[in-house]
C-alpha cells in the first residue's frame, strides 16, 4: 500500500511538472502579450513594465524563476489584477468553485442513483425510456442554454430563486443544477449500462434462482459490482466540477475560479493561467489517486499494487 502511494505521488509530481512546462511554453508562443493594448504604450513605459515582471529576461530564466516560486509557495503577481498576487486570487475564488462543484456533484450523485437503478430495473419499458431520454437531454443540452432557461423560468417568471448576487441561499440552487445536470445525466447513463451488464452475469442468475427478492438482487449484488465504471469517471468529474466552470460562473455571476480558465487566457495573464492550471492538475491527480484507493474498497479483488 505504502509503495503504491509513493509510486502514485511520484507519478503525480511528474504529471504536474509536464503540465507546468507545456503551459509555460504554449503561453510564450501564443501571439499577443499581457500588456498589449489598444492604446499602445511608449517603449520606455513598456520597458519598465517588462522589467518589473521580469518579462525582459530569457525564457529559460523566467521558467527557472517560476519553478522556484512554486517550490516556495509563491505563484507570482497577476498581470491583470495589479493589487493582488495569484495565490491571493486562488485563495479567494477556489473555495467558491469547490463549494459549488461539491454541491453539483452531490446533486448529480443523489439523482443519478435512483434514475440509473430505475432505468436498469425497468429495461425497455416506458420508465427506462423516460430515464434514457432525460439522460440524453442532460448530456446534449449545453449548460449555457440550461442556465438561461432556468434563470428565465425560476428567477424571472416565478421569482423563486435569485440569479446573480452570489452569497444568498437562493442564488446557489440554479447554478448547482446547471453545473450538475450534465454529470447527473452521464452518471445515470453509465450506471444503467453497468447495471444491465451486471444483471446479465451468472452470479445474478444464481441469486435469482436461489429465490432472492429482486430488490435484494439489485441493491446487494448488482449495484456494488456496477460501481467500478462510475468510480472511474468520478475522479476527472470531481476535478472538473470543483475547479469551476466558466459558463456557469459567467451566467450566474459566481465569484469562482472557473472564469479564469478563459479570461486569464484572453488577458494573457501568464501567472494566473499557470496558477489555475496548477490547481486543476493537482486536484485531478489527487482525485484519481483517491479513486484508485476506493476501487479496493468497492471490489476487494482489486489490490492497490
Amino acid at each position: 500500500m505504502a509503495r503504491f502511494l509513493v509510486k502514485r505521488i511520484v507519478h503525480g509530481l511528474a504529471v504536474l511538472w509536464v503540465v507546468i512546462t507545456l503551459t509555460f511554453i504554449l503561453l510564450r508562443i501564443t501571439p499577443g502579450g499581457p500588456f498589449d493594448r489598444e492604446r499602445r504604450l511608449p517603449p520606455e513605459v513598456m520597458a519598465n513594465i517588462e522589467a518589473k515582471y521580469h518579462l525582459d529576461e530569457p525564457w529559460l530564466k523566467q521558467y527557472g524563476r517560476y519553478l522556484r516560486g512554486i517550490l516556495e509557495g509563491d505563484l507570482g503577481p497577476s498581470y491583470k489584477y495589479l493589487d493582488r498576487n495569484v495565490s491571493d486570487i486562488i485563495a479567494d475564488t477556489f473555495p467558491t468553485s469547490a463549494l459549488l462543484g461539491i454541491l453539483a456533484l452531490s446533486f448529480a450523485l443523489i439523482f443519478s442513483l435512483p434514475v440509473g437503478l430505475c432505468a436498469a430495473a425497468t429495461r425497455n419499458r416506458w420508465a427506462d425510456r423516460g430515464c434514457v431520454f432525460l439522460a440524453t437531454l442532460g448530456i446534449s443540452l449545453p449548460n449555457f442554454i440550461l442556465g438561461a432557461v432556468l434563470i428565465w423560468f425560476f428567477s424571472l417568471k416565478l421569482g423563486w430563486f435569485q440569479a446573480g448576487r452570489w452569497g444568498q441561499l437562493s442564488s446557489v440552487v440554479l447554478p448547482m443544477i446547471t453545473l450538475g445536470a450534465a454529470s447527473f445525466a452521464y452518471l445515470s447513463y453509465l450506471l444503467r449500462s453497468a447495471l444491465l451488464e451486471t444483471l446479465s452475469e451468472d452470479f445474478i442468475r444464481t441469486a435469482r434462482a436461489k429465490g432472492l427478492r429482486e430488490i435484494n438482487v439489485l441493491f446487494k449484488h448488482a449495484l456494488r459490482n456496477s460501481f467500478i465504471p462510475v468510480l472511474t469517471v468520478l475522479g476527472p468529474l470531481f476535478a472538473a466540477l470543483v475547479t469551476g466552470s466558466f459558463v456557469v460562473e459567467y451566467v450566474f455571476a459566481i465569484p469562482g475560479m472557473g472564469r479564469f480558465f478563459i479570461t486569464a487566457v484572453a488577458d494573457r495573464d501568464y501567472p494566473l493561467i499557470m496558477g489555475v492550471t496548477l490547481v486543476y492538475t493537482t486536484v485531478l491527480v489527487c482525485a484519481n489517486l483517491l479513486v484508485d484507493l476506493l476501487y479496493s474498497l468497492v471490489d476487494p479483488r482489486i489490490k492497490t499494487h
Binding site: 501564443t30 501571439p31 499577443g32 502579450g33 500588456f35 498589449d36 493594448r37 489598444e38 492604446r39 499602445r40 504604450l41 511608449p42 517603449p43 520606455e44 513605459v45 519598465n48 513594465i49 522589467a51 518589473k52 515582471y53 503577481p77 491583470k80 489584477y81 495589479l82 493589487d83 493582488r84 498576487n85 486570487i89 479567494d92 475564488t93 438561461a148 434563470i151 428567477s155 424571472l156 421569482g159 423563486w160 430563486f161 435569485q162 440569479a163 446573480g164 448576487r165 452570489w166 452569497g167 441561499l169 437562493s170 440552487v173 459567467y250 451566467v251 450566474f252 455571476a253 465569484p255 469562482g256 472564469r259 484572453a266 494573457r268
Partner: protein, 546 residues
C-alpha cells in the same frame, strides 16, 4: 384535533419546510433599503491604485472614492476641486496650484500639496511601472526620470512649495496641461500608507481616500460596497451606501434590474438586442462619449497607398446607418475630434457621395471596381464590430463594386497583427484620457506608436506641435481644423465612422446620477426623487415596470 400517521406527518413537514425555504428564497419577499444604490460594474476592478489603474471599471470606482486638483465641468473645461485656483506663469511653462486647506483624508489628516508631489513622482517612478506614466511627460525631467536617465527625483519639475501650494514646471507651454489634472492618475496619494502596506494598501481596511464615498468592503469578483463619507468637504452624498456588483453576463444583469435588484445599468450590462425594448423604459438614455470608432488603411500597401482609393472608400460609406443597426445612440462622424470637445467640427470630412467615390476609383485605375486587388478588412472578434463590418462591406460592394474579405481575430492576436503586419483595412477605437483634442489628434503623428496606418505628414505633425503650445483657444481651433482637413479629407489615412454613446438605464425612483462623456459614473449627487423620499410603508416595494 387531527391526528396524522407517521408517514403523513413526514409528508406534511416536508411540504411545509419546502414552502418555507422557497418563501425565504424569494427576493421579493424581503424589503430593501432605499438608501442603498446598486449598480453593476460588470467585472472585478483590476486595481484601485490610481497610479496603476488603466481601465474604466477601476476608474469608475476610484472616481467615487477620490477627488483631485480639478474636475471637468459640463463644457469639459477644468474646474477647481482641491485646487481653489491656479496661476499660469512664464508664458505657460509654469503652473502654480493653490490648494484648499479644508480637504481631509478618511483618516482625518489634511490633504496637502506633498501628497500630490508624492503621487506624481510615484506615477513616474520606473519601479511603479505605471502604464500612464507618459501622461506627465510634459513636466521637466519627467520622461528622463521614468527612463532612468535622471535618478534624483528632486530634479523632476513638480514640487510642494508649502502645504497648500504645488508648483509644476513644464518643458514647454502646454495648452492641455490643466485637462490632465482632471485625470484620476494625478490624484494625491499618502506616502506613509503606501510605503507601510505595499500593494495591499488598496484593501478596505487600509485604503485612505478623500472623496464622497469610503470603501467599506471589497469582496473580490463579487461586489464592492461604498458608504457615504460624512466628512466630504463638498457635502455628504444623499445615498448612504452604494453596492457595486460584478455581473459580467448582460442578460443576468438586465434580469436583476428588472427584478428591482439593481438601480443602474450601462452598456456593459445591456444586451444589444434589448436596447430597442428598453428605449421605451423610463430612465433610459444615450450619453454621447468622447470615443471615436474608425477604420484605418495600411497606407504603405497597395491599393491604399493611393489617396484617391482611400477617399473613394471613405465617401462610399453611408454613416447614418450605424445608429439604426447598433441601437446605441451612435453619432455618425466624418471628422475625428468628437462632439463636445474643443475644435469639434462636423463640417470637416467627406460626405456620402457614391458617384464621386466611383469617379475617384475610376481615376485610380479601377473602373467599377474592375481589377481591384483582393483586400481584407480586419476587426477583433465582437458582435457589434461584425455588424459594422458587414454593413460597410455591403456598401462598398454596392457603391464601388469592390468585395472586401472580412477577417476577425481574438483581441490580443489582432493587436499583435496590427503592430507587425497591419491588414489593408482595420478597425480601432479611441477614448479620451483627458478632454482635449491633443489626446485624439496625436494618435496619427509620424512618431505615434498608435499610428497603425504608417501614414506620415510633416505638416500635420507641425500643426499639432503648434496647437499643443498655443494658449489662445481660437488659434488652437484653427490649427486643429487644418490638421483635421489633412487627416479626414486630403490624405484620408483613416475613415472616422461614428462616436460612440453609452446606453444607460436608471431606476426612475432615483435622480442626480451623472454619466460623463468620459465614461465616468459619478454617484455623489444621486438621491431618491423627492416625491418618493417618504413613501407610506405599504408603497416601499420596488417599481418593477422600470
Amino acid at each position: 384535533m387531527v391526528f396524522l400517521t407517521k408517514r403523513g406527518a413526514f409528508r406534511h413537514a416536508l411540504l411545509l419546510s419546502s414552502l418555507l425555504i422557497l418563501a425565504s428564497c424569494n427576493p421579493f419577499s424581503r424589503g430593501r433599503d432605499e438608501k442603498t444604490f446598486r449598480v453593476n460594474i460588470g467585472t472585478e476592478p483590476p486595481s484601485l491604485d490610481w497610479s496603476l489603474a488603466t481601465d474604466h471599471v477601476s476608474f469608475n470606482v476610484i472616481a467615487n472614492l477620490m477627488v483631485g486638483l480639478t474636475e471637468f465641468d459640463k463644457n469639459l473645461k477644468p474646474a477647481p476641486v482641491i485646487a481653489k485656483s491656479w496661476d499660469i506663469l512664464e508664458g505657460g511653462r509654469k503652473v502654480v496650484f493653490h490648494l484648499r486647506d479644508d480637504v481631509t483624508w478618511s483618516d482625518g489628516q489634511k490633504v496637502r500639496a506633498q501628497d500630490f508631489e508624492y503621487s506624481w513622482k510615484r506615477l513616474l517612478n520606473p519601479k511603479t511601472a505605471s502604464e500612464y506614466a507618459y501622461i506627465l511627460f510634459d513636466i521637466v525631467n519627467a520622461e528622463e526620470f521614468h527612463e532612468g536617465k535622471v535618478t534624483d527625483e528632486g530634479l523632476v519639475g513638480v514640487k510642494a512649495i508649502d502645504d497648500w501650494t504645488l508648483e509644476v514646471r513644464l518643458k514647454h507651454p502646454t495648452s492641455y496641461f490643466l485637462s490632465i489634472t482632471t485625470f484620476e492618475v494625478t490624484y494625491p496619494q499618502r506616502q506613509d500608507i503606501i510605503e507601510k502596506l505595499g500593494s495591499k494598501w488598496t484593501e478596505p481596511d487600509h485604503i485612505v481616500t478623500n472623496g464622497p464615498f469610503l470603501l467599506s468592503s471589497w469582496k473580490h469578483e463579487n461586489e464592492i460596497q461604498l458608504r457615504a463619507n460624512p466628512n466630504f468637504f463638498l457635502g455628504k452624498p444623499a445615498v448612504e451606501q452604494v453596492e457595486m456588483v460584478m455581473i459580467n453576463e448582460k442578460t443576468t444583469a438586465l434580469g436583476l434590474y428588472e427584478q428591482g435588484q439593481l438601480d443602474f445599468l450601462d452598456n456593459h450590462s445591456i444586451p444589444t438586442l434589448e436596447k430597442p425594448r428598453l428605449a421605451k423604459a423610463p430612465g433610459f438614455r444615450h450619453v454621447p462619449q468622447l470615443r471615436g470608432y474608425y477604420y484605418g488603411f495600411a497606407t504603405d500597401r497597395k491599393p491604399f497607398d493611393d489617396t484617391r482609393v482611400r477617399k473613394a472608400f471613405s465617401m462610399a460609406i453611408d454613416r447614418s446607418v450605424f445608429p439604426k443597426i447598433l441601437h446605441g445612440g451612435e453619432l455618425p462622424a466624418t471628422s475625428w475630434i468628437p462632439p463636445g470637445m474643443l475644435a469639434h467640427n462636423p463640417k470637416i470630412g467627406p460626405l456620402y457621395n457614391p458617384p464621386e467615390a466611383r469617379r475617384l476609383l475610376r481615376e485610380a485605375g479601377y473602373p467599377d471596381g474592375k481589377d481591384f486587388p483582393r483586400v481584407t478588412l480586419a476587426y477583433n472578434t465582437d458582435e457589434e464590430h461584425k455588424i459594422v463590418a458587414e454593413a460597410i462591406q455591403s456598401m462598398w460592394k454596392r457603391n464601388l463594386g469592390v468585395l472586401v474579405r472580412l477577417e476577425n481575430q481574438e483581441w490580443k492576436v489582432y493587436l499583435k497583427k496590427l503592430q507587425s503586419d497591419p491588414p489593408h483595412i482595420f478597425r480601432l477605437g479611441w477614448g479620451a484620457d483627458y478632454p482635449d483634442p491633443d489626446n485624439f489628434m496625436k494618435l496619427f503623428t509620424a512618431l505615434s506608436g498608435n499610428n497603425n496606418t504608417r501614414w506620415k505628414n510633416s505638416r500635420y505633425d507641425h500643426l499639432l506641435e503648434l496647437a499643443a503650445r498655443e494658449m489662445n483657444e481660437q488659434r488652437r481651433i484653427r490649427l486643429y481644423n487644418e490638421a483635421q482637413r489633412i487627416l479626414c479629407e486630403a490624405d484620408a489615412p483613416i475613415v472616422p465612422l461614428f462616436t460612440t454613446a453609452e446606453t444607460t438605464v436608471l431606476n426612475p425612483r432615483y435622480t442626480g446620477l451623472e454619466y460623463s462623456s468620459m465614461g465616468r459614473l459619478v454617484l455623489r449627487h444621486v438621491r431618491l426623487k423627492e416625491s418618493i423620499q417618504s413613501p407610506p410603508p405599504a408603497a416601499r416595494g420596488r417599481d418593477k415596470s422600470a
